[in-house]
Symmetry: C2
Subunit: 427 residues, 2 copies
């Protein structure tokens, strides 16, 4: 009986730290926006590493990178894993990067151990998951899943007016084709980006699904006026309206267990210290694991937004830019994650993802599972994002077992051969 | 007995419209920021027009432009008028520009009529009144009055890091010397920038003083976090703290008759739609005609700001960047304005300036008066800023009489010789 190989936790950590040097910030984080020069460098490193691990690499029409480890049976549906290489502005070293580097570490381990599988295994680096530079988020995986048009993706422009398609060509990642492969299973490893695993003392989160989310763009139009000579009673202050929306967002989210509402982006016009703001553009991000509750939160928010605008005499424009229902992951995939964690002896619990992930998009076209590991204080989208080498190694080992299991390889149920795992170097 | 000459309202209006073409916006306003290329063009036009009206022009160390009409008595203290050529971003055609063009129209009228005065008359275009690009506002007049250091002015940088002194040299306005002249009287004509004259049906406001103002820069530091996975209870959202400050500003200002508090500028970091804001930088502008009331408002605001920060667990930095006490203008100058309006038969009322003006700085070193004319809806610092040719001509005629009066010229008390005034062309 073939034993299950153990991934190399120290090598995984070293890969993560090398990757984090690309776009590193002074504060210990990473700024690597989709299709910028650092994203290009990260992609180039990914391609080189994957080829060194025996994979062939291709890029599709929207810039998703696929590293394929061939299987014995060319007709078998592919088993996939992956995540993303782009980050938030001033983001952390692990969001996205971990899922890609964990997949790479699995490929390297299988390569070193000489294990072959019936199905091919593909590691994907999805393009533009964060959506910070080009909105919306998860563009690459959504296009792959047929949820948005490739043409729409390519025509998206950043705030400087640069076109996604042009930037993709600029960094040498404008490929051919999009989706269409039969996928046996897709697994994604990710830091939790929330505080639950740490608070409960669990190493592995078996993710049962993703909460739904809805995004709005709001525009409040008042009247710019002189800060000294305009009486308070006569003002139509767009920023005051925005302030009331922000307070309503907190109040409504807090009133719904597990509800989350965020105003993350806000621009003031003309943004001059002695001018009453005439215009505010802002965003609303509404999430809940239960779509009915999310809809109720949304209705309450809409009412609050209209009331805030009316009270200050503001013109209001609301545009919905994303509407993603809650996603339930595949029972068999979830069971594989639980089983892998149990066999490795890691503490685990079932968890709903608060964040959106590429896995949520892929869940629309394939059986999906996710593996969460703890991050310090639940902090993410922040330079201070932190996770331990041991936890990251544990998640990677679970990923390896889940992928082997989906390939029908017996090693997925076997004892582990090597003990290099949890003794990863400390940061 | 020499008659009082009448200014040419149509010529005044034409000058204003020509000037408004420099930095004109699509929305009918003007963006002409201090020391930018359009400011340079406006300055060049000012210099040419003043020379054509028989004046000599000089520029001082901080970029203030002085156009001098010589008097008979070289020892007599100068009589001054002026305002500024720079505008807010997306500002109007009259704020500042009117005071300079009205002064020019007076000089042209005296030139055409061949009137000579004992004292020299100087028309000043103060540098950087708005303070939008280089803070604080009224830099040129404050430096002239000795309220801030010339070296400090020259070393001020804009948000792109460009130095005031370097930009001044770039536009050819780095001159020599600063202040020191004995000033017999200073008058400034300006649109009211508030609704009082229009609401009361008065053509001329005899300004009795300026309300005090205090400016703060606030920095609220929370923790950037993932919008999906961070529970509401664990957030330290800098923008929520800011929203509570904005609401407190409205509440406290409204509770004090004639009080004004404005949050005009606000920046969110990282300003990404799916990240809880980790940092907000914002401004506070606090004004009241009575310094004791303004201090009480300030105290209430400070308490509210600290409470908002504490409630959300935010670190708070407050920096005071301007503190200008209320200013009472000179009784004799105010009387000259009232007298001029009465002789011309214009309806008038006494008024306190809600806005800060160069005149408020000059009031620290010289007898000062101001002349307000109505603007539509009290709207200013806005592209929609509007004033009628007839009102603008009336204010200019009052300015002419006030200046002649301060020069001791008998025409100030004489009937007007020409009827070209109120029949100015309509826009």
């Amino acid at each position: 009986m073939s034993l299950c190989p153990g991934i190399d936790g120290a090598r995984l950590w070293a890969s993560l730290m090398s990757l984090a040097e690309i776009g590193a910030t002074a504060g210990g984080g990473v700024t690597r926006l989709a299709l910028d020069d650092d994203d290009r460098r990260a992609r180039d490193l990914f391609v080189r590493w994957c080829r060194d691990a025996g994979c062939t690499v291709r890029v599709d029409a929207v810039g998703n990178l696929f590293a394929r480890r061939a299987g014995r049976d060319a007709a078998a549906a592919v088993v996939m894993t992956g995540s993303h290489l782009d980050t938030q502005p001033g983001g952390g070293r692990f969001d996205g990067a971990y899922g890609v580097m964990a997949g790479l570490e699995v490929l390297r381990t299988l390569h070193d151990a000489g294990i072959d599988t019936a199905a091919a295994i593909e590691l994907v680096a999805w393009s533009n998951e964060e959506g910070t530079r080009f909105a919306p988020s998860m563009m690459g995986s959504m296009a792959y899943a047929g949820l948005i048009d490739a043409a729409q993706v390519l025509d998206t422009r950043d705030s400087a007016g640069r076109r996604y398609g042009d930037e993709l060509a600029r960094i040498g990642c404008a490929g051919q084709g999009l989706g269409g492969d039969a996928i046996a299973a897709y697994f994604e490893a990710h830091i939790e980006q929330g505080p639950v695993l740490e608070a409960r003392g669990a190493t592995i989160g078996a993710v049962t699904g993703g909460q739904g989310q809805r995004w709005y763009d709001l525009r409040l139009l008042g009247s710019a006026a002189h800060a000294g000579s305009t009486p308070m009673a006569g003002r139509r202050d767009a920023l005051l309206g925005a302030a009331r929306v922000i307070e309503a967002a907190r109040r409504i989210a807090s009133a719904h267990d597990e509800g989350r509402v965020t105003v993350g982006q806000l621009h003031v016009v003309p943004n001059s210290r002695n001018v009453v703001p005439g215009e505010v553009r802002m965003t609303l991000d509404i999430r809940h694991p239960d779509d009915r509750v999310r809809n109720a939160m949304d209705e309450a928010l809409q009412a609050a937004v209209h009331a805030a605008a009316a009270a200050e005499g503001l013109q209001l424009t609301i545009e919905r830019v994303l509407d993603q229902p809650a996603a339930a992951f595949d029972a068999a995939c979830i069971a594989r994650v639980r089983d892998a964690a149990r066999r490795e002896g890691y503490s685990q619990l079932d968890i709903v993802s608060g964040a959106a992930h590429d896995a949520v998009a892929i869940a629309r076209i394939a059986p999906v599972g996710m593996i969460f590991v703890p991050c310090a204080g639940g902090i993410s989208h922040n330079e201070a994002e932190s996770a331990t080498p041991a936890d990251l190694a544990a998640g990677c080992q679970v990923l390896l077992r889940a992928l082997l299991g989906a390939c029908g390889h017996p090693a997925a149920q076997a004892p582990r051969s090597t003990p290099t795992l949890a003794e990863a170097s400390t940061p």
